[in-house]
Symmetry: C2
Subunit: 257 residues, 2 copies
């Protein structure tokens, strides 16, 4: 099984990029974040016409998640389900055979110490509860993927000391993230690619950020023990980020036995 995640920064703007990537890589599941489109404007037919199944939930201008799958899924839901549906455009959950895949777009947090930052911290807490209430880490095959807006170690940022403390690289956020992983997630990406300098996001505002290594690893592939054991490789499609008309993030792929 091959699973991928991509913060596409507008699914409409990135439609050709995504369809091309799907055609070349033919994954079982592609998880998208920041689709930035309301459901009635989602380019559903473009995916259906290319032979994919697509499940999505979005809102105007911000957020939005989608799952593109080769086979229809047995289960799909959106949101943390502890609210009135406000989180629907940040969490998509599908079941493919024995595997649950939870795709999240964790709030970015706006500014350290801001209300949105508090909301981000809470979001990790709510997400931990989401997992504890639904799964048993020693029993279930669970993948947590997506744009988690956290670079959890110094190896995950181009210059940890320089950026610290940052929205995605500060103690509070790392602790909040760790509180989720402590439930029972392992970093599948790091199992296969332990060296530093492997990034998944480069700010548009930094020119030649990719060439100069000015990136962040904030898009993740995490899994329970059984998923981690079953994983055989991970990869970042850096080339795609170098194309013009690309998202500021790129595709991260994981393969499983």
């Amino acid at each position: 099984m091959q699973v991928a995640t991509f913060n596409c920064n507008s699914v409409r703007r990135r439609l050709d990029v995504i369809l091309h990537w799907l055609a070349v890589h033919n994954p079982d599941v592609l998880a998208l974040q920041e689709t930035k489109v309301q459901d009635h404007d989602f380019p559903e037919d473009a995916f259906l016409d290319a032979g994919w199944n697509v499940y999505f939930r979005g809102q105007k201008a911000y957020n939005g998640v989608a799952m593109i799958t080769r086979d229809p899924v047995e289960y799909v839901s959106f949101g943390l389900q502890d609210d009135d549906g406000e989180s629907a455009s940040r969490l998509a959950h599908v079941t493919c055979g024995e595997t649950a895949i939870v795709n999240t777009y964790v709030p970015q947090g706006s500014e350290l110490g801001s209300p949105k930052f508090a909301f981000k911290l809470e979001w990790f807490t709510r997400l931990r509860r989401y997992f504890t209430e639904r799964f048993e880490p020693t029993r279930d095959r669970v993948l947590w993927i997506g744009d988690l807006n956290v670079a959890p170690t110094p190896a995950d940022v181009y210059d940890s000391q320089k950026v610290w403390p940052h929205l995605c690289h500060c103690q509070e956020v790392i602790d909040a993230f760790r509180a989720v992983t402590d439930w029972g997630f392992h970093d599948i990406f790091r199992k296969h690619l332990p060296e530093s300098g492997r990034f998944t996001f480069w700010d548009y505002r930094l020119r030649n950020a990719v060439e100069n290594g000015l990136g962040w690893r904030i898009d993740h592939v995490l899994g329970t023990q059984s998923m981690t054991d079953a994983s055989v490789s991970c990869d970042i499609d850096v080339e795609s980020r170098l194309q013009k008309g690309s998202s500021d993030h790129t595709f991260v792929t994981a393969s499983f036995r």
Copy 2:
């Protein structure tokens, strides 16, 4: 000599289209309207690097004219010169050898009877004065080209009766336009292509307008008697309008002995 006119609807958006067209057609002069760019943002280098000379005057968001020439010109000026420079982004005047070429982007007029409509009518009056003060129609080789925002005869609109009275096809505007041509301009386009249904502009908002013949002839090539006598052919590049990423107008070309 080959001269062309093109309302490019943003020279920045249309840069590739224009450079490609220049490379293929290699005209002596290409007159552009609606460049929609301030001078400090005009893509001058792109034309210079391709071996062209370029003279331009624009403003923010609206209007803007440019002359692209194979050889440097002996004279260039902008505007009607009866104002504080407000008309500079609607009139470019160059001299190439014995020939004066005046490229205008006549005000569209917004709405029948509006202040902008009155401004349009005035503009033709001011333009007649521009010609009378500078040229002698029986002596001088003068070309008047550009987007004149007038379809002067029923043959110049897809359905004259249906659209009448329209900003670009009503008695007042036709009379104002005729007052200029009466000074001494002949319709060089019509000398070579007398049949109706030859259009240079198709509204973006009408789907398949070109295929359905829903166009207008509002981009013109007019000349004094000597220019008209020297003219050998005219052509509209309809194909260019059918490409995606095209302007709503297309290129009109005239060849001279």
